[in-house]
């Protein structure tokens, strides 16, 4: 098991290098010049030259890349061109917000998607199945921003049950923090629940026709135990893999939803950075997101092995 994890970690290294090169070059080939954005209206040639020198923008691109990677390895992701704050500090401020939002969204997605998927699989071809599928399809096609606005209108404005927007750090007031984040998490979660439901349904349908499920029934187990114990356990593999990927996506931030509920997470940071050509911040975020994805994938692979006795030996 340990050697498996080590092997998977080694495979992750070239992936991270590739991603870093890609991110770095993408930035360089994008139109627009950060120095012009910083120099302001006058565009004083001297100021521009000074800024270029200050941020080493005159160096050959490979040199710029290597110095960036070198700094990144020591935890120095550069300084935001816009706010002059260290990028790591900016990310450090936003990351807990995004992780909390992602976790809460995922809980919603799992709590809705998996039971709905199981139910529609065991009631295949019945009204329950159709309703679940229609709801899932709606979940996929209703834009998050619309659902967000509707929820604010109903829950916050009309019923005044939950705050419409804002953010309270979790360590400051956990209850309040969760309360404020329920709505954005629900909006993000329902969209993912639809995907999860579809995958759970098809995984369950495959497993339910298997010989060992027939054996479980032949033993005289209750239908509940047959489905939740024998069938679901074997349907878990694709569900776990998908959940890890979805969680990775959530870490990357949800621009629109964060905007609507004014959640100060990654999404807003990315948008601001891109509009201001704040290279260092964009690079830092993409790097953190990519690493997050790789970690989630690694966890999924480990879960995969834990769930499959055949892969353990």
């Amino acid at each position: 098991m340990l050697s498996f994890i080590l092997r998977r970690l080694l495979i992750a290294i070239p992936t991270i290098i590739l991603i870093s090169i890609f991110v770095f070059s993408l930035q360089k080939f994008l139109p627009g010049d950060p120095v012009l954005a910083m120099a302001g209206e006058e565009r004083d040639p001297e100021t521009i030259a000074f800024l270029r020198e200050k941020y080493n923008l005159n160096d050959p691109i490979p040199v710029q890349y290597l110095s960036w990677v070198g700094n990144a390895l020591t935890g120095d992701l550069g300084i935001s061109l816009r706010t002059n704050q260290p990028v790591l500090e900016l990310i450090g401020q936003k990351l807990p917000v995004t992780i909390q939002l992602a976790t809460m969204s995922m809980i919603f997605a799992l709590l809705i998607g998996i039971p709905a998927g199981i139910l529609s699989a065991i009631r295949k071809g019945t009204i329950t199945d159709y309703v679940a599928n229609i709801v899932a399809l709606s979940g996929l096609s209703i834009p998050n921003f619309w659902l967000g606005i509707m929820l604010i209108l109903l829950v916050s404005v009309k019923w005044q049950l939950l705050p419409a927007s804002g953010y309270v750090p979790f360590d400051q007031d956990p209850l309040r923090s969760i309360q404020v984040m329920i709505m954005p998490a629900f909006v993000l979660g329902t969209a993912l629940a639809a995907t999860l439901m579809r995958h759970t349904r098809s995984a369950m349908l495959t497993v339910l026709t298997s010989d060992y499920v027939r054996t479980a029934r032949a033993k005289g187990l209750t239908e509940r135990r047959v489905i939740l114990h024998h069938a679901f356990r074997n349907a878990l593999t694709p569900i776990v893999t998908l959940s890890a990927l979805l969680f990775g996506e959530l870490i990357a931030g949800a621009v629109l939803t964060e905007q609507i509920f004014t959640v100060p997470g990654f999404g807003k940071l990315v948008v601001d950075a891109v509009f201001n050509r704040d290279y260092a911040v964009v690079q830092g975020i993409v790097l953190v997101t990519a690493v997050g994805f790789i970690v989630m994938n690694l966890l999924a692979d480990i879960a995969y092995v834990l769930l499959n006795p055949r892969l353990r030996s």
Partner: protein
């Protein structure tokens, strides 16, 4: 293998343990009868072999009795089944579930896929015990160890902790048998339990089933297409063709004096090691599908003796000792002499 290995039929017919008097199943939109008036019985301590080609409905009939047919696929048109003298209601899922694995147990053709790959074999057997008995986990596990030992698995305590993929096919079938018999069922239905196994393992499994049967006195229904298996293990035989039992009786009678043209064809398609060399005969044609099912006798499209009358439902002729044949021309010898 066929021939002299046949068991002697008991002198008096014991009271049946499972008595299927009528079982008719339909499927599809046009409600074609998949099983048509299936009729067989098995007594305690007795082995009934249901023989027939693949797709003839052998497995379907036993799955129906277990209540294991997938819902919404097949529809029970008529059923009159008695188990231990009392009606066995195929509509009562709760009773069927309690009966499954405790009074009637079943093992399947594919030991490779019939065990859940995610759980240890010991847990899977203990689970079967706990499903029907109010016992502690420890008691269920010690019962599981006992059963593994009984089916001839060496070092059962350590095997308990293994996963199905760590066992060979023969071992897995033994585990299946241990699981099926953990609650001392009165009836074991074995659906081609040896088909997927090597020949040497096949006879070991058959021996094991026979041995356990003589220990426990359970009745056994063995579903097979292998006449070698039938010769080795059957007390009684029911020959199934296209969803109908065309002939049934003691194994001795079926092997020595088959009366239905299909049974005769089936018997002569088995090569013999003794006697003069002959060309192997086969039953010509193929089993009719739902669309091509003839009226009356279902074998008439392939029967060398078929006449116009065969379009009518054949009568059941009883030759005594439970030897029954569904044919207009039974006994065949008489008609052949007349012709």
């Amino acid at each position: 293998m066929a021939g002299k290995l046949v068991h002697q039929a008991p002198d008096t017919e014991p009271a049946p343990l499972l008595d299927v008097r009528e079982l008719t199943l339909s499927f599809g939109k046009d409600r074609t009868n998949l099983l048509q008036g299936v009729r067989y019985s098995v007594a305690a301590g007795e082995t009934l072999c249901i023989v027939g080609e693949s797709g003839c409905g052998k497995s379907v009939s036993s799955l129906a009795i277990m209540g294991l047919l997938p819902a919404g696929v097949a529809r029970i048109e008529a059923a009159d089944i008695r188990f231990q003298g009392k009606p066995h209601d195929l509509g009562d899922q709760a009773v069927l579930r309690r009966r499954r694995g405790s009074e009637i147990a079943m093992i399947f053709q594919e030991p490779m896929t019939s065990l859940n790959p995610a759980f240890r074999v010991g847990d899977q057997i203990a689970e079967a015990v706990k499903a029907h008995r109010d016992v502690s986990d420890a008691d269920a596990r010690s019962r599981a160890v006992e059963m593994l030992r009984r089916v001839g698995i060496p070092a059962p305590e350590s095997r308990m902790r293994e996963y199905p993929h760590q066992l060979s096919g023969g071992m897995r079938q033994r585990v299946m048998i241990a699981m099926a018999l953990a609650n001392d069922p009165a009836l074991l239905i074995a659906d081609e339990p040896t088909t997927a196994l090597d020949v040497t393992i096949q006879s070991q499994i058959l021996d094991l089933i026979r041995e356990l049967q003589s220990e426990t006195g359970m009745g056994t229904i063995m579903i097979t297409h292998d006449l070698g298996v039938v010769a080795e293990i059957a007390d009684r035989v029911a020959v199934m063709y296209a969803g109908t039992i065309v002939e049934s009786g003691s194994a001795a009678r079926i092997f020595d004096d088959p009366q239905h043209p299909y049974t005769i064809g089936l018997m002569s398609s088995v090569p013999k090691l003794t006697g003069p060399r002959e060309r192997l005969s086969t039953v010509p044609g193929t089993v009719p599908t739902a669309e091509t099912m003839p009226p009356g006798c279902r074998f008439s499209t392939r029967c060398p003796f078929a006449q116009d009358i065969c379009a009518e439902t054949p009568p059941e002729r009883d030759f005594g000792d439970g030897h029954r044949v569904l044919c207009h021309f039974a006994p065949l010898d008489e008609h052949l002499e007349l012709a």
